[in-house]
Amino acid sequence: MSERTQVYLKERETGQLVEATLIDGVTRDDVEKAESAWRPFLEQQLKRMQAEGVPKSRWPQHRHWDWREKQESTELYLAYRMFGIESSSQMQGLMLVLTAGKHARIESQRGRPLVYIHFLAAAPWNLASVVDEPRYTLVGSVLLATAIHLSLEEEFQGRVGLHSLPQADSWYRDACGMTDLGPDASVQNLRYFEMTPKQASEYLKER
């Protein structure tokens, strides 16, 4: 069952905040619709990047993510929640989180439960690494704020953890104020980031 809440994204062209819908409980149909728009757009842009000689290191590192597979493999589990943001009748971003079995690593919070962000992505037309002029900004910020709100409601006090792809490291560290706990050998050496209750509170205050 999915629930819908109003949120706001920033339309880059006009600089205005525009209404969007946060979907809690993204359905198979939602994901199908998203992927059928995201995939061809992304493939077209990757062809362009290849033709222009853009080095592969600058291609989006999550280009292989298959949201259909992620939704199908987790939809029956209570522990997983999938969120999406829709605007202009198109999915602008998706996030899959785990709400059980993950615990904080930061010393002051060690062993206490947190919301773990498994996957978070904006639509390819919102990515500065893909297009010169992204359509909407704030997609990632709203999804991260959603994870923090969920953490608060789960009594996790805002604690959030995630493994970041290298292209997103600086965003989580510098823009979101998460603590960088360094590369994690158990997860492809991706850097592990965590947000304490204090950092979560500051993040929400600033937005």
Binding site: Y77, L78, G101, R112, T146, H149, L150, E153, E154, E155
Partner: protein
């Protein structure tokens, strides 16, 4: 504040003294309410059950020795 939790239903739970003690200890250690502990337990149990039903096994691995021990799930 953004509301991201669906509406909930209430139930009464009967536990032995030992079970209640374990629940209280987990609640204190994890710094969450007893209800939140049970919610966590249910989510994990449901996932474990589903994966075992698919023919998978549940193991614990020792961080240092990498020794694995299968966890029996009823």
């Amino acid at each position: 504040m953004l509301q991201v939790t669906p509406s909930r239903k209430t139930m009464t739970l009967n536990l032995t003294e030992a079970e209640m003690k374990a629940l209280e200890e987990l609640s204190a250690t994890k710094d969450i309410s007893k209800t939140a502990v049970l919610r966590q337990a249910l989510r994990l149990y449901q996932m474990v059950e589903a994966r075992i039903a698919r023919g998978e096994k549940l193991f614990f691995e020792h961080d240092a020795t990498k020794q694995k021990a299968e966890l029996m799930v009823l």
